[in-house]
Symmetry: C2
Subunit: 657 residues, 2 copies
């Protein structure tokens, strides 16, 4: 039953099992996931992490399966902790077999399968607490969201192990939903408050070839935002209550914008509402546009992408300007010290970007994918693999994080496992499946999007080809793509991304300079490639200054630093406090130097300025004496590494003087 449904002409990711990562930088993350995060998360799922909030997750499944007495505990979507863990395990086993881990996962699958009901329904909250209330509060209760994560886990585990037990569970869940939801008279014309199942159903379709799953995804996507609004109808039907405020009759219905249900998705122009829900939905929209050759839906994806990336994204590839609803706000509103920028939202952004790359290989998609992956997603995970950021601020003043309620969401140190543990397992599943984001291919072209060292095997123009990518990134600007082997003969194309951050990129083929065709951020090399042929790329790694659009009030007069894919930041431990007193002269030279701290990094250094009080004795809050400028040695480190040393201030955008 190994099926991958592809539309000819479009590109698709190379299957994970055919991509073997071999990259010094990413290998450490993959090992962190394999050796630390997956085992640690298993302990967390079983409530065995000391001093951390309990997950209750496994216990809920045991209770639902009748193996243990007790009540449900945790968030209504707590089941997804296990699903995301299983998905990560699926990828991990794809990369590297591990008998012990597989046995552990199989046991967990046995457990969750035993909690599935006869009709296919599977959700521990409703099974334990309120079986009669199934499918009556999709707005709040994440039932399809949880099912979506189950499906994603099932597809990953099936692809990684070939085992179908979990896939069968997931199919039964999907079939159940397919019976309950749809345009039919006895079906519910509705959708989940938290998008996720839509993209999962596309994966299930790709894995099984069953078109009904693709159609169900399409139904859920196109039903969204239709009038009369389902979220409002459902709210009326359940007596104007919310899961989150039990017993209270609400005066206002749920805000459809928050759920991206304010208008049909095809008509949406601007990214609004909860950021994670938005990007999960856009991902499914792109999937559907891809599989159904739906140009109208594609056009909506392009519009939403353009708004989000062109007007609402932080320089670190994060989204969500406000903690209120973990949401987008409006164009150019990118406050540095009150943003949300959830790790999960950047993960969803990567999903969306990869789908858009399949439709149209444009450098801007890969640039954003790289920006989010190298900066925000990895920033979410501490170097020890056991501490996490959910919120990824541009600026941190620890005293404000504790002392100003409007900044309480900005954590100055990474936290252990949360009660709402969405981000850690989400980051784990992405990192361990990073191989799925390096390449896409169609019948005759291999696109290299990310320069992550790896070997891959695929068919191009009917030839069996093995490609070896070696990369000095993220630290050094050299990469080579070697045709390690290629049988037969005939022309095919190797397309290499030209990163937008590289001011000058040069290519050599088999040692000779080459001026390839460059189109939309990709360099195209087409020939009758032979084993041993090699393309060498050289990127410009000079540290560079980045300025924000003048409409971004928060960054007027400020500059950010970037080197290669890394956006940098200033930390108190290197520069002293307050960081706000520092500025970078417009003409200061930026130098980069290798440093052994933080596991080995390039730091960026410059001669900067620190303003200090003209009169140190003067303690007055307001004074007439201008501050005095003194020299200061500035030192910036990659943003993704922040918060791994001493507790202190952090700042991405520095004043330019």
């Amino acid at each position: 039953m190994e099926t991958t449904n592809r539309r000819p002409g479009l590109s698709h990711p190379v299957e994970l099992k055919h991509v073997r990562l071999n990259d010094p930088y990413w290998q450490s993350y993959v090992e962190l996931v394999n050796d630390t995060i997956i085992p640690y998360q298993w302990e967390a799922l079983n409530d065995r992490v000391p001093d951390a909030e309990p997950s209750h997750c496994i216990r809920n499944f045991r209770i639902a399966a009748g193996l243990e007495a007790g009540d449900f505990a945790g968030l209504v979507f707590q089941d997804t902790d296990l699903y995301k863990w299983l998905e990560a395990v699926g990828y991990s086993l794809t990369n590297k077999p591990n008998g012990d881990l597989e046995r552990l996962a199989d046991e967990a699958i046995e457990l969750l399968a035993s909690a599935q009901l006869e009709d296919g329904y599977l959700n521990t909250y409703f099974t334990i607490r309120n079986p009669q209330a199934r499918w009556t509060n999709l707005t709040d209760c994440h039932e399809m969201y949880a099912a979506g994560h189950l499906i994603e886990a099932a597809v990953a585990y099936y692809r990684g192990t070939g085992k179908t037990k979990l896939l069968d569970v997931a199919r039964r869940v999907a079939d159940h939903i397919d019976r309950r939801f749809g345009p039919g008279e006895r079906q519910i014309q509705g959708y989940d408050g938290h998008q996720e199942i839509e993209l999962a159903l596309v994966k299930l379709y790709e894995a099984t070839g069953e078109r009904c799953y693709l159609e169900l995804a399409g139904f859920l996507i196109d039903e969204r935002g239709q009038e009369p609004n389902f979220l409002h109808r459902e709210w009326e039907a359940r007596g104007r209550t919310s899961y989150w405020n039990p017993g209270v009759v609400q005066s206002k219905p749920p805000a459809p914008e928050y759920h991206q249900a304010h208008k049909p998705v095809r008509e949406q122009e601007v990214a609004v509402g909860h950021a994670v829900r938005a990007v999960y939905m856009y991902t499914a929209m792109a999937d559907l546009a891809l599989h159904n050759d739906d140009s109208e839906l594609l056009e909506a994806c392009r519009r939403l992408w353009a708004n989000m990336i062109g007007k609402q994204m932080y320089v670190t590839g994060s989204i969500g300007s406000t903690p209120h609803g973990e949401a987008f706000t409006f164009d150019y509103d990118l406050p540095n010290d009150t943003n949300y920028s959830e790790t999960c939202a950047s993960i969803g952004l990567i999903f969306f970007a990869r789908r858009m790359l399949q439709v149209e290989p444009k450098g801007e998609y890969a640039d954003v994918m790289e920006r989010a992956l190298y900066n925000t997603v990895t920033a979410g995970i501490g170097l020890d693999g056991k501490h996490y950021f959910y919120v990824n601020p541009m600026e941190v003043w620890p005293a404000a994080s504790s002392g100003n309620p409007g900044r309480h969401h900005i954590k100055a140190t990474r936290q252990k496992w949360y009660g709402c543990a969405c981000c850690p397992p989400n980051a784990a599943r992405l990192l361990v499946s990073a191989g799925q984001y390096v390449y896409t291919s169609n019948s005759n072209t291999l696109y290299t999007h990310l320069y992550i060292g790896s070997e891959t095997e695929l068919e191009l123009s009917g030839r069996n080809v093995r490609i070896r990518l070696e990369s000095g990134l993220p630290w050094n600007g050299n990469a080579s793509l070697e045709v390690a082997s290629a049988d037969g003969s005939g022309s095919f194309t190797l397309a290499l991304r030209v990163p937008s951050w590289s001011a000058a990129t040069t290519f050599r083929v088999n040692g000779a300079d080459e001026q390839p065709v460059i189109r939309d951020g990709y360099a195209y090399f087409t020939r009758d490639w032979r084993s041993g042929d090699c393309i060498d790329a050289q990127f410009d790694m000079t540290p560079r200054r980045i300025y924000a659009h003048p409409q971004v009030r928060a960054n007027a007069g400020r500059v950010a630093l970037q080197r290669g894919p890394f956006v940098y930041c200033f930390e108190e431990t290197d520069n002293g406090a307050p960081l706000a007193s520092l500025s970078l002269p417009a003409d200061a030279e930026l130098t980069s130097a290798w440093d052994e701290s933080l596991g080995g990094i390039f730091v960026i250094e410059a001669k900067g300025i620190r303003t200090v009080a003209a009169n140190e004795i003067d303690a007055s809050l307001y004074r007439g004496d201008p501050p005095v400028r003194t020299p200061a040695k500035l030192r910036a480190v990659p943003y993704t590494m922040w918060g791994n040393r001493e507790h202190g201030e952090m700042q991405v955008w520095i004043r330019e003087s």
Copy 2:
């Protein structure tokens, strides 16, 4: 029964009826209150302002008095709308008799008196809704707060008209509370969640000479923060509920910090919690320190003052860095675009400063009083007298006010009467009693704190003295204090404040230069003054730059402008948007010029810089090209006048380049 209790040696404000304002600048505000605000607010109290939220206030009194059927409506402390209006009327009648207004007020007093119960209790919410629940939820329900405003109104109305009807009502309320609260076994050892009655009781003591009121104020002040905490005991006793969330059993008790009840007031070091409650309490503490010669309490006042003014006050004399609890946050946390800075809090700050001036005439108290009065309090009122700001931000981006939930409290335009109409009547009562803040005196010294043109009569060193103050402020830097008449002979002292904003202040006495003794911000002139003697003061009105303490992250690299008592701001209508793109070179000359806009003002102008995109076609959010600097004519207007022209951005602190 005209008593004013005074402790010898300390200074006291000259009674309002002995101060006749005659000042072009303030006269317009006083007339606005008399001619527009008081009549408008009367309409509002009677729910007759079209398109504004109804107050319900008068109607509640009618229902409580049995004159009308119906239910209570509005906020639990809605009665105070009428009390603050009556207080303003009392001051207005003190300044200028007005038969029609007095008749209206007398009718309102008849009405409220008829709502008073036999035992003296008066509160329409509890009388209408739940008479059994009186004094069971002081934390939330503002019962004493409302009584305090009633007492303040009664004292003002009594002093303005000599009539005792309202004073009798207030005394019966105070006596009722005095029976219910105190150290006795059958009394409640508690206090109100919202301080206000404490300062009112001191006023009642001053007006009646009844020491029990002073003692009750002292009890309430010193009971606060004692353990076991009253707010927690009360919360337990009422079943862990809150007035604000009916029917919900809370998991956490009320936060004592919010109510300044986290420790005994004498031990408090730092201003915390709800800003208005804090300054009302500090005012009462200073009152009690003054009347009881209580040096320990005075020391606490000095500490709290120093913390608030030295570390938590905005440059416009406003306080409250966060909308969460309308509260202080922590030292040097003064965000410009998310602050609260409630108009009422600046009014309370003025109360506190005036009390401290009575204890110890130091320029810093008067400087803050002036800063708050000339900038924030008047900014709260539109030039038409019918539109109000409750929140007084340092920076406004209208799109963020509507599009970013963390900025929803920042209104870009003044609002009509609110449901919670605390600020408008509070500002009205302050403005119309401004005469009480100009001078204080003791037996032989008249202190002039504010340069507001006026005539005053008082006794100094046993002589009957009439003083005429003429002032060019806030626009021109000349003021003269003339001894208009003085009977008898003997030496007394005229002390004139030397404003901290004046870089050079000179004095002449009867036309001749004089170098007075200057102590703590006051110039002292002692002699056997004769009728016609005159002190001329000349203040430096050069526009000046102000810098914030280096620990204030929000203002690093920024500068504010001040001229005389006015802090200035930049508005979009004068400077274009985004204001963030503007900067003021460190060496740019500041010029001021008279301008007929906004009723006639001095504007501050300078040659500034506007940064614009290097490439206008480039719409990308992040770019490598630094912005280009172009000349820009900058124009700043007094902050207090902002928002009276076209809707747009506003900014106090501008980048210095």
